[in-house]
């Protein structure tokens, strides 16, 4: 039976070989182990040996031919054996030439070639398919209208997607404006998940160039023109929340002058009592908190939120009064919960404690979140009156000025009086003028005759 001799793989990197010399002729007897030819490989000239005994019946390629591994180069067999099917297809040399120019076709000429290609397939990295399987689906990165990539944490993206919030409408409070969890959560809480309606409430345009001229160099002859300071997280929050409030809640303002003479007297008496009990002093602000709380119970639309996203006005059953406190980095509003149900001493104690912790930045979120109404007092700075920006999602905020000594006319006579101006900022979406005015009347009534608070 005829034995095919193929171009052997002689080195670990060899792909094809040049038959440099035949050492036997057709018709010669060959024994296993005899060297029958020499082949030049990529590394060296190597011997081609026979692994079986027989007669070399046919050389399929000539000296100088280059053929790939596995191609038939000679046929070994018994003298006179018919090998026509092996050599069919003509001259081996011609095939070799063809294979040199069109290597892809060589597989049809070599008996082992199919196995060769199998082997090379199986030699491909087995994990390859797995890698493809594991390739994650591309996650849309999120871009703004101009196609710029929006920076947001993966979690923020997921939350935004779940709440149908368009990240392009948001500013981020993270590094380089990255939108992070707390930004999205704030938005969710505000109920502003739907994009703001542009015709009624144009969103702030942070990308707009500032209208005023900026200094072009930091330093001139006089020295540094300005100092740069990174915008703190708190400032960013103030900026975002108050801008949002002022732009989306249509504010209007109501001011009333309150006679504080009785309150001053009442406070004196109360503090004489608390002093004996070692309790905290009652401040005018505590009177105001209590007055507001009681009045809020009677005016549910002031103790409310306008929630555009949910399509509802939410009137709260509890009264939680936020008290704005100035701290080094900005301001924060600790909340006196259920202030309508607490006595002045309790309000005083809680306010002092919360304010103190606010200044030390020790407040927990539940201590400054969830107010239904807010007061802001700048009286201690000699401010006579001012208007405050509503603390979202409240419907109103009360701005308190100083208590002034003022000549007043009483029973036709000019006498010394104690007066204080308070200004209510109202969100017109929920509080109408009359509603605000009636609320303010009640606040005034409590302050002017504190005994009412006891009723």
């Amino acid at each position: 039976m005829a034995i095919e001799i193929e171009m052997p793989k002689l080195t670990d990197t060899m792909e094809d070989g040049v038959l440099s010399a035949w050492l036997v002729d057709e018709g010669d007897e060959v024994s296993a182990g005899d060297v029958i030819a020499q082949v030049e490989t990529d590394k060296a000239t190597m011997d081609v040996e026979a692994f079986d005994d027989g007669v070399l019946l046919k050389k399929m390629i000539d000296e100088g031919d280059s053929v790939p591994i596995g191609q038939l180069i000679a046929v070994l067999g018994e003298e006179g054996e018919d090998i026509s099917d092996l050599v069919a297809g003509g001259d081996g040399a011609a095939e070799a030439e063809a294979s040199a120019t069109a290597e892809d076709d060589t597989s049809t000429t070599a008996s082992d070639a199919t196995e060769t290609s199998d082997a090379s397939e199986s030699a491909a990295p087995a994990g390859d398919g797995q890698v493809r399987d594991r390739e994650p689906e591309p996650v849309p990165a999120g871009t703004d209208e101009e196609g710029r990539r929006i920076k947001a944490s993966p979690l923020a993206r997921r939350l935004a997607k779940e709440h149908s919030i368009d990240l392009a409408t948001m500013d981020g409070s993270g590094p380089e404006g990255r939108i992070v969890r707390r930004d999205v959560e704030a938005r969710i809480e505000e109920g502003e998940a739907a994009p703001a309606e542009p015709e009624t409430a144009p969103a702030p345009q942070p990308s707009t160039e500032p209208a005023f001229e900026m200094p072009t160099s930091v330093v001139d002859e006089a020295g540094e023109l300005y100092e740069s300071e990174n915008i703190s997280q708190m400032r960013k929050t103030i900026s975002r929340r108050l801008a949002q409030s002022k732009y989306t809640a249509p504010h209007f303002y109501l001011t009333v002058d309150v006679d504080m003479a009785n309150a001053v007297e009442a406070r004196k008496k109360l503090n004489a009592l608390t002093e004996k009990q070692d309790g905290p002093k009652i401040s005018f602000n505590d009177f105001i908190t209590k007055s507001c709380a009681l009045a809020l119970r009677q005016h549910p639309y002031v103790n409310a939120s306008y929630l555009a996203k949910d399509g509802e006005i939410r009137k709260y059953n509890q009264v939680h009064v936020g008290v704005a406190v100035a701290i080094d980095e900005g301001l924060i509003t600790p909340v006196i919960r259920n202030a309508d149900r607490k006595g002045l001493a309790q309000i005083s104690k809680e306010t002092r404690e919360l304010a103190g912790r606010a200044r030390n930045r020790e407040l927990q979120p539940e201590e400054f979140e969830g107010s239904t109404f807010t007061t802001s007092n700048l009286g201690m700075f000699g401010i006579e009156e001012f208007t405050a920006i509503i603390n979202p999602p409240n419907a109103a905020i009360l701005a308190i000025g100083e208590i002034r000594d003022e000549p007043v006319v009483e029973d036709g006579e000019v006498v010394p009086g104690k007066r204080m101006k308070i200004t209510l900022s109202c969100d017109h979406r929920v509080v109408d003028g009359a509603v605000g005015a009636q609320f303010l009347q009640d606040v005034k009534r409590y302050l002017e005759d504190p005994m009412n608070m006891l009723l």
Partner: protein
């Protein structure tokens, strides 16, 4: 519960296992007559005799390889490296022989061996004596790597390691050998290999830390607590296989991750944890994962440089605040 030093807990684990199984023996430099360079094996020669508590020449390659051959024959050697810095002399044996035997023999020859000893920097010892090898050895399929942070874990995990049919690299710490802790009195106290421990629960940030770094991290958590942040600390205990599920669950809760690791940063344990977390919990991350590791330098000698080198409470606090977007 008994209060034991780490070295005593390790000794108890070895002693109990040697009492239980005659195939277990201890071999290493100075383990017998000298009673252990760090007194871990104190008294074991007296109890078990020189056939089972065996001093070696200074030839880590040789006795590590001897242990592997013995393990292939069915014994359960405990090979002590005086420190894991010296395991580098035996590197070929630990990484190329021990973990490959089962695979290359088609399952015919296992290698139930424990390589143990102190790992990581131990003060001002200079670069050659301050290597943290956990990331390195975790890179070799077939090895398991354990690095406990306290006596109880050390005992339960070492006993499991000795009984494990796979080669285990068990990393201790010179500076922790005197660390005392409650250790279970259970007669057969085994802890599962590959299970992390939630050492401290918290909501704001997850911190993963093992071995010595775990203790630094616990201090950092106290500092964070003072500022109102609550850190969840996970001690993986086993580096390989890593209990990534526990870490992922925690990250899904806190959305932030810091990994503390005494290995050099490039291809560290921290790198691996970070990779796996971003792959499996990407949409739960609110900040990039940060790691606290030594700088990518050899360990120095000078005290100030060494302080700078080791992961510190301050660095961990800073990294934690950064991932929480809290003002530093």
């Amino acid at each position: 519960m008994a209060t034991l030093q780490l070295r005593e807990a390790i000794r108890a684990a070895m002693t109990e296992e040697m009492e239980r199984d005659e195939n277990v023996f201890l071999m290493g430099e100075e383990v017998a007559e000298y009673n252990g360079a760090y007194k871990v094996s104190q008294g074991m020669l007296d109890q078990f005799g020189p056939d089972r508590v065996i001093d070696t020449p200074i030839a880590e390659l040789g006795f590590a390889g001897l242990g592997i051959g013995a393990a292939m024959s069915g014994l359960r050697p405990i090979i002590e490296f005086m420190t894991f810095n010296f395991s580098y002399v035996a590197f070929d044996q630990v990484v190329n022989n021990a973990p490959n035997m089962r695979y290359m023999s088609g399952g015919q020859f296992g290698c139930p061996i424990v390589f143990r000893g102190p790992n990581g920097a131990a003060g001002q010892l200079g670069a050659t004596h301050s290597n943290s090898t956990e990331a390195l050895y975790s890179n070799f399929p077939g090895l398991k790597v354990i690095a406990p942070s306290n006596p109880d874990d050390a005992k339960g995990l070492l006993k499991s390691a000795i009984r494990d049919d796979d080669p285990v690299v068990f990393l201790e710490s010179e500076q922790m050998y005197g660390l005392k802790g409650e250790v279970s009195d259970e007669s057969d106290y085994l802890l599962p290999i590959g299970k992390a421990r939630i050492a401290r629960e918290g909501d704001d940030v997850t911190i993963v830390a093992h071995s010595k770094s775990y203790h630094v991290t616990m201090k950092a958590a106290e500092e964070l607590e003072k500022e109102g942040f609550s850190a969840e600390i996970i001690d993986p205990r086993t580096i390989k296989p890593l209990d990534i599920e526990t870490i992922i669950r925690s990250v899904m809760k806190t959305n932030r991750l810091v990994v503390v690791d005494e290995s050099s940063p490039f291809s560290s344990v921290a790198s691996e944890v970070t990779h796996q977390v971003q792959e499996r919990a990407f949409d739960h991350l609110d900040a990039p994962v940060l790691r606290v590791t030594p700088p990518d330098t050899p360990a120095p000698y000078a005290p100030n440089l060494m302080d700078r080198y080791m992961p510190s409470v301050e660095e961990i606090v800073r990294a934690s605040k950064r991932v929480m977007y809290a003002a530093a």
